[in-house]
C-alpha cells in the first residue's frame, strides 16, 4: 500500500541533503558533451531535473560494467580465509530515475534474485533506494507508454515523484521508500483533492507527449505466426555494426563475462559486461563458434527479448526507454524493427 505526500519544491534540496548524510546521492547530471550521466552528486543544484534518457542506464549501479568479485592475495594458494569477497556494500540513493528504468529494475530483480541468487547484485540492490520522477518530457525515441512500463507506475517503486508545477506529489511504495520519507516527516504534508486532480492532469499530459505507440504483443504474435522468413533477419543483420551498443545501453541486458586479472601481490576475479552480439560470445573449446553468423545473433536478440523473456520472466525484454534507438548506427533498434515487422504484416493483409 503506497503512501502519498506533498513536498514543497523549495524543500527538495534540503531533503536530499539530509538523505545524503548516510547514503551516497547519485543523480542525473549534464556532462561536458551535453549527455545525461548518472553520477555522484556534489552540488544538488546541478541535478538535471526533467532530463531525458541517460546513457548508460542506471542499471550500472546494480550491475556495473566493471565489477571486482573476489580477490586473492599471493602467494598462490587457495584458502577460503585468504579469498576476499569484494561485494560493494555502499548505501546509495539514486535520484531522478525514469519510470521505465524502474520497470526494468523489477525484471532485473527477478532475473538475478530468483533461482540462484546473485550475491553482488543482491548486495547492491538491498543498499540502494531509487527515487523516480514521472516523466513529463519524453524523448522522441521513447515508447514505454505502449508497454505500460511508464511514464507513471502504479507500484513496484521505492519513491515516485510527480512534478505538479509549484510542488511535488510524492508516493512511497517499498518499505525503504516509506522509511526515507517518515524519517523527515515534517517536510511532507498530506495531499488534498486538488493535488490528486493536478496529478492526474500531469499524467494525462505526459501520456499525450509520446510520439511512438508500439504494441510489442502484436509484434510477438507476428513473429510467432511463422510468416517472418529468415531473409528478413538477414536484412536486419546486414545493417549490424556488431558494436554491442544495443546490449550495453539496454537496462534489461544481463550478459557478462568473468576474467582474472593479476596485480603485484594479488589476483582479482572481475566481471565485465558482455554482449551476445559479439562473434566470440559463445565460443567453445577448440574455437568452435556456434553463433558465428551475424543473422543468428541478431535474430536471437529479438527472440530473446520478444519471445523468451515473456516465457521465462513474464514481461518483454524491453521497457521502451529508446536507448537502442539513440545508440544503434544501423537503425535496426527495437522500435525500427518492430515498425518493419508491422508493415510486413499489413502487406500480408493482417494486423
Amino acid at each position: 500500500m503506497k503512501e502519498e505526500f506533498i513536498l514543497n519544491k523549495n524543500h527538495l534540496s534540503y531533503w536530499l541533503r539530509q538523505i545524503r548524510k548516510n547514503r551516497e546521492l547519485i543523480g542525473p547530471m549534464i556532462n561536458g558533451g551535453n549527455d545525461i550521466v548518472f553520477k555522484s552528486v556534489e552540488k544538488i543544484h546541478e541535478i538535471a531535473l526533467n532530463c531525458t534518457a541517460s546513457l548508460p542506464s542506471p542499471k550500472e549501479f546494480l550491475f556495473p560494467q566493471y565489477e571486482p568479485m573476489l580477490k586473492m592475495h599471493h602467494p598462490s594458494s587457495i584458502n577460503r580465509q585468504e579469498i576476499i569477497d569484494l561485494s560493494d556494500k555502499t548505501k546509495r540513493v539514486i535520484f531522478g530515475v525514469r519510470s521505465c528504468d524502474i520497470s526494468a529494475l523489477a525484471l532485473l530483480d527477478k532475473f538475478y534474485l530468483e533461482g540462484y541468487k546473485d550475491p553482488y547484485y543482491s548486495e547492491r540492490r538491498k543498499n540502494t533506494i531509487f527515487i523516480s520522477i514521472v516523466c513529463n518530457n519524453p524523448d522522441p525515441t521513447c515508447f514505454c507508454i505502449g508497454l505500460k512500463t511508464g511514464p507513471y507506475l502504479e507500484n513496484g517503486f521505492d519513491i515516485q515523484i510527480t512534478d505538479l508545477g509549484d510542488r511535488y506529489f510524492l508516493q512511497a511504495d517499498s518499505q525503504e521508500g516509506k522509511k526515507a520519507v517518515r524519517s523527515m516527516s515534517f517536510l511532507f504534508s498530506r495531499p488534498k483533492k486538488a493535488d490528486y486532480e493536478d496529478q492526474y492532469e500531469v499524467f494525462l499530459s505526459s501520456k499525450a507527449r509520446f510520439h511512438k505507440r508500439i504494441n510489442l504483443e502484436g509484434i510477438r504474435q507476428i513473429i510467432l505466426s511463422g510468416k517472418i522468413r529468415d531473409d528478413f533477419w538477414q536484412h536486419v543483420s546486414e545493417r549490424c555494426f556488431e558494436c554491442g551498443g544495443c546490449v550495453y545501453e539496454c537496462p534489461l541486458c544481463t550478459c557478462f563475462t568473468v576474467i582474472d586479472r593479476q596485480y603485484s601481490g594479488s589476483t582479482e576475479r572481475i566481471r565485465l559486461w558482455d554482449t551476445c552480439m559479439f562473434k566470440g560470445f559463445t565460443r567453445m573449446t577448440g574455437g568452435v563458434l556456434p553463433n558465428e553468423k551475424m543473422v543468428k545473433r541478431t535474430k536471437r536478440w529479438y527472440y530473446h527479448k520478444l519471445i523468451y523473456y515473456p516465457e521465462t520472466l513474464g514481461s518483454f525484454g524491453c521497457v521502451g526507454c529508446g536507448r537502442c534507438t539513440i545508440t544503434c548506427p544501423g537503425k535496426i533498434d527495437m522500435a525500427s524493427t518492430a515498425a518493419k515487422l508491422k508493415s510486413l504484416a499489413i502487406i500480408d493483409g493482417e494486423l
Binding site: 598462490s76 594458494s77 540462484y116 550475491p119 568473468v258 566481471r271
Partner: protein, 279 residues
C-alpha cells in the same frame, strides 16, 4: 529454472570457489589427465552435473564429474588441455590447491526400468561425463538388460580410459571401440560410431541411450536412434558450452530459450527438437 543448490550454508556466495586439493594425477593421453581432488567436505553430485574449476590468475572452466559419488570427499575430473585454464590445470602438481564451485546443472536421469537395454555413445572426451553412468550400470547390472558402449576417438593413442574399457568388458558391458584414423599397431574398427549400429545388440524400441561427444556426432546419433524406433524422450545427451558463471546469469550458454548450465546440460532429444536447442 531448476534449482540444484547444494552446500548453501557453506557458501552463500555462488561465485566463491571451495578449496580442493589434488590428491592424484593420472596422464591418460598426451593431452588428457585425470585428477582426483579431495574437498574440505563431501559434495553430493550426480552423473552429468558439472563443476566450475578455478585456477587463480587463469579463470574458471566447466568440467563434468567423471566419478560416481560414494559419499566421500573425492571428486574425479577428466581434463583435456585446450585453453588458458585447462593449460593452467595441466601444470598443477599433486598436493596443490584447486578451486571448485558447484555442482551445477541437472544431471542424467538414471531411473532405468528393470530389464531395459542401455546404449552409451561416446565421442572423444565425451566419455568422461558418461563414465559415471557406466560405473552406475555396473553396480546395478543384475537389474538391467544389455548394456552397450560405442566409443569413438580420433586415433588409437587418444582412447581415454583404455585400461578401464577392459574392466568394463569383464563386467558384462559390450564395448565397441572405433577410431577415425588407425595406425600400424591398431586392428580394431575404423570409422564413425554412427556406422556401427549393426554391432549393437539391443531392443531399440525399449532402450535408453546416453550420448556425449562432438555436436555433429550427437546430432547424427540422436537422429539415427530415433529412426530405429527409440523414444525421443529416452535419447539423452549432455551439451557443452563455455559457461562463465554456471548459474544461469552470464548468458554465454544461452541457446534457444534455455540456459545449458541450469536447464541442462542434460537434455532429451524430445526437448532439443521442441525447443530448438541445437539450432
Amino acid at each position: 529454472m531448476k534449482n540444484h543448490i547444494t552446500n548453501r550454508k557453506a557458501n552463500s556466495n555462488i561465485y566463491l570457489p571451495l578449496n580442493g586439493k589434488i590428491e592424484e594425477i593420472k596422464e591418460l593421453t598426451n593431452d588428457v589427465r585425470l585428477l582426483k581432488i579431495r574437498t574440505e567436505s563431501a559434495i553430493d553430485y550426480k552423473p552429468g552435473q558439472f563443476f566450475m574449476i578455478s585456477v587463480w590468475g587463469a579463470g574458471e572452466v566447466p568440467i563434468s564429474a567423471t566419478s560416481l559419488y560414494k559419499g566421500n570427499t573425492t571428486i574425479e575430473l577428466c581434463i583435456r588441455k585446450t585453453g588458458i585454464v585447462t593449460t593452467a590445470i595441466h601444470s598443477l602438481e599433486v598436493g596443490q590447491s584447486i578451486g571448485i564451485r558447484g555442482p551445477f546443472g541437472n544431471g542424467f536421469p538414471l531411473d532405468i526400468p528393470r530389464g531395459k537395454d542401455v546404449i552409451i555413445v561416446a565421442g572423444g572426451i565425451g566419455i568422461a561425463p558418461l563414465r559415471p553412468i557406466i560405473k552406475y550400470l555396473i553396480n546395478n547390472k543384475y537389474e538391467l538388460g544389455r548394456v552397450t558402449l560405442l566409443y569413438g576417438s580420433r586415433t588409437p593413442d587418444e582412447i581415454i580410459f583404455k585400461d578401464e574399457t577392459e574392466q568394463w568388458k569383464e563386467s558384462g558391458i559390450s564395448v565397441i571401440l572405433t577410431v577415425d584414423k588407425g595406425n600400424d599397431s591398431y586392428s580394431g574398427n575404423v570409422g564413425f560410431v554412427t556406422n556401427l549400429w549393426h554391432t549393437v545388440r539391443a531392443d531399440f524400441k525399449n532402450a535408453i541411450a546416453y550420448i556425449c561427444g562432438p555436436e555433429v556426432m550427437i546430432k547424427a546419433a540422436m537422429r539415427d536412434l530415433f529412426f530405429f524406433g527409440m523414444s525421443d524422450e529416452k535419447i539423452i545427451t549432455t551439451l557443452e558450452a563455455h559457461m562463465k558463471c554456471g548459474v544461469g546469469k552470464c548468458g554465454h550458454c544461452y541457446t534457444g530459450p534455455k540456459y545449458i548450465c541450469t536447464d541442462g546440460p542434460v537434455f532429451s532429444y524430445k526437448q532439443i527438437k521442441e525447443q530448438s536447442i541445437l539450432m
